[in-house]
Every structure is written in structure tokens, then in C-alpha cells.
């Protein structure tokens, strides 16, 4: 009898423990490919401003998040209220399929606000201008690379890495941009120098810091986070800049529309953009100071230097581009 009773009590405790996730206040779930160092600070900032909204996020690669959303859509309930990744084509695709809620944030009217999307209509807005540079391990590479073509040199042989564009949105963007500017020949030369495909965009940088790679195509704030923690690494930007805008969008049919709109407003505000700049990535506002140590140009200048691309075309070619890239680098 005693055993049964104790078990009953314990079971009740566990079940209530498992079930007590649902809170009374407004809640908001953001799916994002931003890493903890960035999204964590933004969450804290947002929580301070809107203490009545309980914001939660899932941070994972863009590909995985889209898979999750698709699976959730299939089962009838999408958990995400807001999507913020760096895979621009995904946003065009979702907009076409009517899966995004239109919202023109009042912040986009500010004169300091920059808009990299010519066809902006409120379905999604850039919340960050991610840049990609060459992160190199200073134990092995003593002179900073000045041009993309430096990567064909002997110093980078067998030890330059690019994240898998099938897994990482920024990696796909950078492959598309480099391909547009320099042609497939660029990747053939990289392949001839035995460049490697890594896993996620974070892992190639960690591998660079560890010396498994001497250099990698690196997302700015992830590399800067590790440099600030003492990694023997530096980040270099060749003249043709790779800029991957990270759009933020509200999922259609979200029950937390108000909270979602507040989050978008916050993300585009000067306050949040200052956090973004302090983490070593480009803000979407010209009125935010970027710390000197990152070597980043001002956002409008960077946009001028950047390689331009038609996102819709890029979206149509994604599968073919990824396959061709993988085939070239793995020499199939």
C-alpha cells in the first residue's frame, strides 16, 4: 500500500512538473539562427522593456528551423511566432506561400534606418546586416589576407573551411555571392587548394580557433565573440564585401501578434541595434556607433562595397547551387 501511495504522489509531482510550462502572461517564441551571444543579450534587453512578455527562443541552423516549421505546419500548429534567420530566400518563399504576417514597423520610417531590400513591403525587414569575412588563425597566418584570391595560396592549403551551405543560411548566401562575383572558377581554384566543407557556421570558426583549419569563411559576430575570449584569431574583410541581411518576420496566424510586433519594433530600434553593433556585426541603422576594434565600415558604406544579388533568382537556384558547390569541393 505504501509503495503505491508514494508512487502516486511522485507521479503527480512529475506530471505537474512537466506540464507547468504554460504561463499566464503573454508569451512569444522566436526561432532564430543567431547564436546565444547575440540573441541572449537581445532577449534580456527585450525582457527589461516588456516585462509582461515571456520571450523564449530556439537557436539552431536556418535549415533545421525551417524543417521544424514545416513539420509543425503539417501537424497544424506552428510554435514559432517570429522567425529571424539569415537565409533570405526562405523569407521570399514563405511570403509567396502566404505564411508571413505583414507588419510595417514604425521604426522603418526613421531616416537612419537602412533597407537592403528594394522590394520591401512589410512582410520581412532586415534586422542585421551580417558580414562574412576571412577568419584566420594568427598562429599560422602572419599577414592578413587582402583579397579573396589570397585563399588560393599555399598558406591555406588543405586548411580553409566553408560551412555546409545546406546547413547554414549565411554559408549559402556567401557561396551564392562569391559565385556571382567570381564565377564557379573561384570554387574550382579553392578545391584545387583542397578547401574543406565544415558542418555549421559556428563549427568552422571553432575549428579555426583550434587550428584544425587555418582560416574559414566566418560570420562576423561569432568570430568576434571568440576573439574577445582570447582566441588567436583575426577577421579580415576583402574589398568585395559579403553582406547577408538577416530578415525578421512574423508568422501568419500567430496567437501572439501583439507581442510579436513589439519584438520586431524592439529589434529594429536604436537600443537593440546598439547591442548588435557591440557584438561585432553590422547594424541596420546609421545612427549606431560600431566599436573600432571590429574593423567594420559604416553600414551604408558597407552596402556600397557589397556584392549585389537578386534574391529571387538566388532562391530559385538554391538546390542546384548547393549541389554544384558540394560536388566541386568534394571533387565528384
Amino acid at each position: 500500500m505504501r509503495i503505491r501511495f508514494a508512487a502516486l504522489i511522485l507521479a503527480t509531482v512529475f506530471f505537474s512538473g512537466l506540464a507547468c510550462d504554460a504561463a499566464a502572461e503573454q508569451s512569444l517564441i522566436v526561432y532564430t539562427s543567431m547564436k546565444e551571444s547575440l540573441i541572449g543579450r537581445l532577449r534580456d534587453g527585450f525582457a527589461k522593456k516588456h516585462s509582461d512578455i515571456k520571450m523564449d527562443y530556439q537557436s539552431a541552423g536556418a535549415g533545421k528551423l525551417m524543417a521544424k516549421i514545416a513539420a509543425e505546419g503539417e501537424s497544424g500548429k506552428i510554435l514559432a511566432d517570429v522567425l529571424w534567420t539569415s537565409e533570405v530566400p526562405d523569407f521570399y518563399d514563405m511570403k509567396q506561400k502566404g505564411k508571413l504576417e505583414k507588419y510595417v514597423s514604425p521604426v522603418t520610417g526613421d531616416s537612419a534606418f537602412l533597407n537592403p531590400f528594394a522590394d520591401y513591403d512589410g512582410h520581412f525587414a532586415a534586422a542585421r546586416l551580417g558580414t562574412l569575412g576571412i577568419a584566420y588563425n594568427t598562429r599560422f597566418i602572419k599577414t592578413a589576407p587582402k583579397a579573396w584570391q589570397d585563399l588560393f595560396g599555399a598558406a591555406y592549403k588543405n586548411a580553409f573551411g566553408i560551412a555546409n551551405p545546406a546547413l547554414s543560411g549565411t554559408a549559402y548566401m556567401s557561396v551564392a555571392l562569391l559565385g556571382k562575383q567570381f564565377g564557379w572558377e573561384f570554387f574550382e581554384k579553392l578545391a584545387a587548394n583542397k578547401a574543406r566543407i565544415g558542418k555549421g557556421s559556428g563549427q568552422v570558426i571553432d575549428d579555426t580557433a583550434a587550428g584544425e583549419l587555418v582560416a574559414s569563411l566566418a560570420v562576423d559576430y561569432i568570430a568576434n565573440d571568440k576573439i574577445s575570449k582570447g582566441a588567436t584569431m583575426a577577421l579580415a574583410y576583402p574589398p568585395e564585401m559579403l553582406i547577408a541581411p538577416s530578415p525578421v518576420a512574423i508568422i501568419k496566424g500567430t496567437p501572439n501578434l501583439d507581442a510579436a510586433q513589439k519584438f520586431v519594433d524592439y529589434l529594429l530600434s536604436r537600443e537593440a541595434q546598439t547591442i548588435i553593433a557591440e557584438e561585432g556585426t553590422l547594424p541596420v541603422r546609421n545612427d549606431v556607433a560600431i566599436p573600432q576594434k571590429f574593423g567594420l565600415p559604416k553600414p551604408d558604406e558597407a552596402l556600397k562595397r557589397s556584392i549585389k544579388i537578386n534574391y529571387l533568382e538566388m532562391m530559385a537556384q538554391k538546390e542546384a547551387t548547393v549541389k554544384k558547390f558540394v560536388d566541386i569541393l568534394q571533387k565528384k
Partner: protein, 563 residues
């Protein structure tokens, strides 16, 4: 349950039988059935051509081949290592045998994917600490060993799986009647002949049964291959299923491929189980009796101390070194810095325990999931084993068959099966909640519970219950006052056999996790994948501490029960 007391025992027997069948059908049989259905049934009709087409794709074919290569390599390696060490600690005069025997069980505690992480840090081709040391010290051009290879994967799996064979063989060698060997010796046979003709044939079933267990485990193992293989394009079945489903947005084609691959896993697992039953079922091995004679020990003579040194070196190399690396890397500010005092701190540990929501959630999830799964599975296991072992009801045969299922269904198959069964297609949608992981855990660990509980129940002699019934006790009273107290050690064993492994579970939860339902294993794996090597190492360190603490408590508790 108490409402049932008043009913007559026949009614109650049928209720228990029905309940047992229902549990196994819902938790295990339906998911497996759905996998076969999805694999072989397309657009309303039986379709084998698609299945063959999927299997003939170069990638799936390669993954099948890889699973086989890795599993065979691991099985051979673990069998050799496990048998050798088992022989060493039971049949020779190795110093500190008892202590060494305990040490060889420690690898069981170390989850193999954490081991894989550690070996990645030690032996990745350019940055691995060991490779770097040799390249710096001797000016070598390349690494001395590349862990991102078949050999690397097999070596790591052997390190953490060989105890399966070790335990089995130790038991067999100890229980073996030494008079058999002695009579051979008296009849003039040499050591070689005795070993070949008496010892090996007698322990062979135990060796084989341990080996098959490892084969089963390794074929369906996700973690090690995911950490060490994917880098170089080496996929096995579970990693390919995971990759496909995660990358193609859960599309029909990817689920289809997944179910076909999963079917292959189920069929091979069933074959292995059948083979194991066959090997163990042979009557002539019954000669290993329960009597405890002291077997003759082989004098190692001059080799005594060197062999002890070798054992200690082996433990140091496979257990101490990887564990130390995990804790040290977990203390680094960022990956790649040297282990100097100024680079080491407890910041990462504080971060994951008190600041980082993802890891805090993960720890809480794993602990609650583990406790809940252990409780439910323990009670379900007692009920089902009771029917199988003790009751004489019609329809028991179905239950016996169903009871075999959990033993042969690998983790990734269960994960895929519960996705098919519980994502809303059949009325209940648990996808993206913690409940789907709980259901999967119950299915995955039911086998452990059945095993522990039926073993305990078999020891309870029928006469005890008959005596109670003869004195006028109801069936319920008999259960409560006689059976349950006697099988309590078995239940307790089942509880911990489930709770501890579920703390470090990866294969199932990696397929089922959602924003707030990461488990410890998932958190370690995704952090590593995201390039947060130091944070993931710190969490792995915490996980190891949790597991070691849990194991110590179990050892205390079970010692108390036996003493």
C-alpha cells in the same frame, strides 16, 4: 485499481492481461507497424519497387554498408578486448583483480558520444592535442592518427562498449565447473588443448551473446558516428535518417527513406535476437552450473606486473584521459587556447548551470523525463512480466511475442515510429512536446524493465502465492503482500536501469526535440555542432558528474539490499 479488488480473479486476470497488451501495442507495436506500413505501402497499395529504389540510392546503400562495417568492426574489437580482460581478471593471478574488475566496468558509465567528443579533441587531425603534441615535438608533417575515419569510430565504440562482452564472459568463466578442466588435465591434456576443447566451447555462448548485443547496439548507434563520421562524409543508418529528416523539412520523401532504412534496422535486429536465442538455447551448454568452485588460476609469473601495468594504462588511456580532457576543455575560455592557468576558469560551468536557459532546461528536462520514464516503465514492466511469468491465461502468447518487441527495436526506429504515430494523424498530437519524448523513452526502456522484473519474478516460487491463496487471500492481497515485496529489488533495479541511461540519451531525443525540450544529450550535441566546443564540453562534464553520482547512489542502495 482498488475498484478491481472486489471482482473475481478471472476477471482481474483478464483485465491485467488486456492492460498489458494495450500498453505494449500502443507504446511499441503501433509505431513499428507504422514504419513498415509507410515503407511498404504507398498510395494505398503494396509497393516494393520504391523500397528497392531507395535502397539502391548510392547514399542509402553506402549508409547501410557503413552501419555494417562499423558494427562488425566494433563487435570484433569489443569481443577480443572484453574476452581478454575477462579472462585476465577471472582465471589468472593478476594483482588487484577485484579492483581491476570494477575498473573495467567504468566505461559503461561514460556515454560513448561524450567519449567521441573527447577523442575528437585529442585526435582530430590538425588540432587534436595528441596529434599536435607529436607534430610539434617530432616535426611530423601529418597527424599520427586521424579520428575522423572508420578506424577512429570503431576504436571509440570499442572503448565504451566492450563491457557488454566483459560482463557476460566474466560471469560464465566464474560459474563454469572447474572439474571439467581438471579432469582434462588429469587425463593428460595440455593447457592449449584444455582451452581449445573445454574452456572456449563452454564460454562461447556467453561471448557470442555479448558480441551480438554489441552488434545490435552499434548498428543503431547515433552519437559516435554523428560526432566523428559526418565530418568526412561517413554516415550510418541512424545518422542518415536524422540528416534526411532534418534537412528536407520533414518532407514525405525523407520520411519514406527514413522508414525504409528503419525497416532494415528492425529486420536485422530481429535476426540478431533470433540468432542470440538460438546460440543460448542449446542444451549442451547447461553444464555451466550455479556452483561456485574455485577455478584454477593461471600463473602469469613474470608477466604479472607488466600485465597489471597494461590494464592500468588501458584504463588511463580510455577513461581517465578523455574524462580529464572533457573537464579541462570545459574550463577553457575558448577552444584552441593552451591549458594554461590563465585560460582556465569555472565560467563555462557557471554559465550552463545558472545563466544559459538552453542548458538549464536541458538538465531539468533530462532529470524529469528520466524519473517519469523510469517510474512508468517500472510499473508497466512489473505488470507485464507478472502476466508472462506467473499467470496462466489464454492469450498470453500474444503478450510473450509483444514482450520480445522492445528488445529488438533500436532507438532511432522508435523515434521515427512515434513521430508517425503521435503527430496528429491519428487524433493525438504530441509532436514538439515533452510528452512525445516520454512516450519514446517508455518504449525504448521497456526491455530493461521487462528483463529485470521477470528475473525477479522467476525467483518467487509459485508455492508462496498458492499458500496465500489457500489461506483465503484474494489475488490482489497476494500481489500486494507477497509478490510485490519480493520483487522490489527487481523493480528498483529496473528503475535505475532506466533512469541512468535516460539521463544521457541522445539517439531518440535528437529526432524529437523542440525549442524547450532539449535533453542533456541533445544540448551537448547541438552545442558541439554550433561550434560552442567549450560550452558543450562543460555540459558533458556536468553530465558525467550526474551519472557518476547516480551510479554511486545505486551501488550503495543495491549493496544495502543484498547485505
Amino acid at each position: 485499481m482498488s475498484a478491481l479488488v472486489k471482482k473475481n480473479s478471472l476477471g482481474m486476470a483478464h483485465v491485467i492481461l488486456g492492460l498489458s497488451i494495450a500498453v505494449l501495442v500502443i507504446v511499441v507495436a503501433v509505431p513499428v507497424l507504422l514504419i513498415f506500413l509507410n515503407a511498404f505501402w504507398a498510395e494505398g497499395k503494396f509497393n516494393i519497387t520504391d523500397v528497392i529504389a531507395v535502397l539502391r540510392e548510392p547514399e542509402t546503400y553506402q549508409a547501410l554498408l557503413n552501419s555494417l562495417i562499423i558494427a562488425s568492426g566494433t563487435t570484433l574489437g569489443s569481443t577480443a578486448v572484453g574476452t581478454f580482460f575477462a579472462w585476465l581478471v577471472t582465471r589468472t593471478d593478476l594483482p588487484f583483480k577485484k579492483f581491476m574488475r570494477g575498473m573495467f566496468l567504468v566505461p559503461f558509465m561514460l556515454p560513448s558520444f561524450i567519449g567521441a567528443l573527447a577523442w575528437k579533441m585529442l585526435l582530430s587531425p590538425r588540432a587534436g592535442y595528441i596529434n599536435r603534441f607529436f607534430m610539434d615535438a617530432f616535426g611530423l608533417d601529418g597527424p599520427i592518427f586521424n579520428i575522423y575515419s572508420y578506424l577512429g569510430i570503431v576504436a571509440v565504440e570499442v572503448m565504451y562498449l566492450f563491457p557488454f562482452v566483459f560482463i557476460q564472459v566474466c560471469g560464465a568463466l566464474e560459474r563454469m565447473d572447474p572439474t571439467l578442466e581438471e579432469s582434462a588435465r588429469i587425463s593428460g591434456a595440455g593447457l592449449f588443448t584444455i582451452t581449445r576443447k573445454i574452456t572456449i566451447p563452454l564460454v562461447l555462448p556467453s561471448i557470442l551473446s555479448g558480441a551480438l548485443l554489441i552488434m545490435l547496439y552499434s548498428m543503431a548507434h547515433f552519437g559516435t558516428v554523428a560526432v566523428l563520421g559526418i565530418e568526412n562524409g561517413i554516415y550510418n543508418i541512424p545518422t542518415l535518417i536524422y540528416e534526411r529528416i532534418h534537412q528536407s523539412a520533414g518532407s514525405f520523401a525523407s520520411i519514406r527513406t527514413g522508414t525504409v532504412l528503419a525497416s532494415v534496422l528492425v529486420v536485422s535486429a530481429a535476426f540478431i535476437i533470433w540468432l542470440q536465442g538460438k546460440v543460448l538455447g542449446r542444451g549442451r551448454y547447461q553444464i555451466i552450473a550455479g556452483k561456485s568452485f574455485r577455478p584454477v588460476e593461471l600463473k602469469l609469473r613474470a608477466l604479472r606486473w607488466p600485465l597489471l601495468g597494461f590494464c592500468l594504462l588501458y584504463i588511463g588511456f580510455t577513461i581517465v584521459l578523455p574524462t580529464a580532457v572533457i573537464f579541462l576543455v570545459g574550463g577553457l575560455k575558448t577552444y584552441g587556447l593552451p591549458f594554461a592557468p590563465e585560460n582556465l576558469s569555472l565560467v563555462n560551468y557557471r554559465f550552463i548551470l545558472f545563466e544559459y536557459q538552453v542548458t538549464k532546461d536541458a538538465i531539468l528536462n533530462s532529470v524529469t523525463l528520466g524519473l517519469a520514464a523510469a517510474f512508468i516503465t517500472m510499473f508497466a514492466g512489473v505488470m507485464i512480466s507478472y502476466v508472462i511469468v506467473k499467470m496462466r491465461v489464454r492469450g498470453k502468447g500474444i503478450l510473450e511475442f509483444l514482450g520480445m518487441l522492445p528488445f529488438s527495436v533500436p532507438g532511432s526506429v522508435i523515434a521515427l515510429g512515434v513521430i508517425l504515430a503521435w503527430s496528429g494523424k491519428y487524433g493525438v498530437n504530441l509532436y514538439n512536446t515533452v510528452w512525445i519524448i516520454l512516450v519514446a523513452y517508455i518504449a525504448r526502456y521497456m526491455a530493461f524493465s521487462l528483463k529485470a522484473n521477470s528475473a525477479a519474478l522467476e525467483q518467487v516460487h509459485d508455492s508462496l502465492m498458492e499458500a496465500a491463496r489457500a489461506c483465503g487471500a484474494s489475488m490482489w492481497q497476494t500481489l500486494r503482500d507477497i509478490v510485490l515485496p519480493l520483487v522490489r529489488p527487481g523493480m528498483l533495479a529496473a528503475f535505475f536501469l532506466i533512469f541512468l541511461p535516460s539521463l544521457r540519451e541522445l539517439t531518440v531525443s535528437i529526432m524529437l526535440y523542440a525549442p524547450t525540450t532539449r535533453t542533456i544529450g541533445v544540448a551537448i550535441y547541438t552545442l558541439n555542432e554550433d561550434g560552442e566546443t567549450v560550452v558543450s564540453a562543460a555540459l558533458a562534464g556536468i553530465a558525467l558528474l550526474l551519472i557518476i553520482t547516480g551510479q554511486t547512489i545505486i551501488n550503495r542502495v543495491s549493496a544495502k539490499y543484498q547485505g
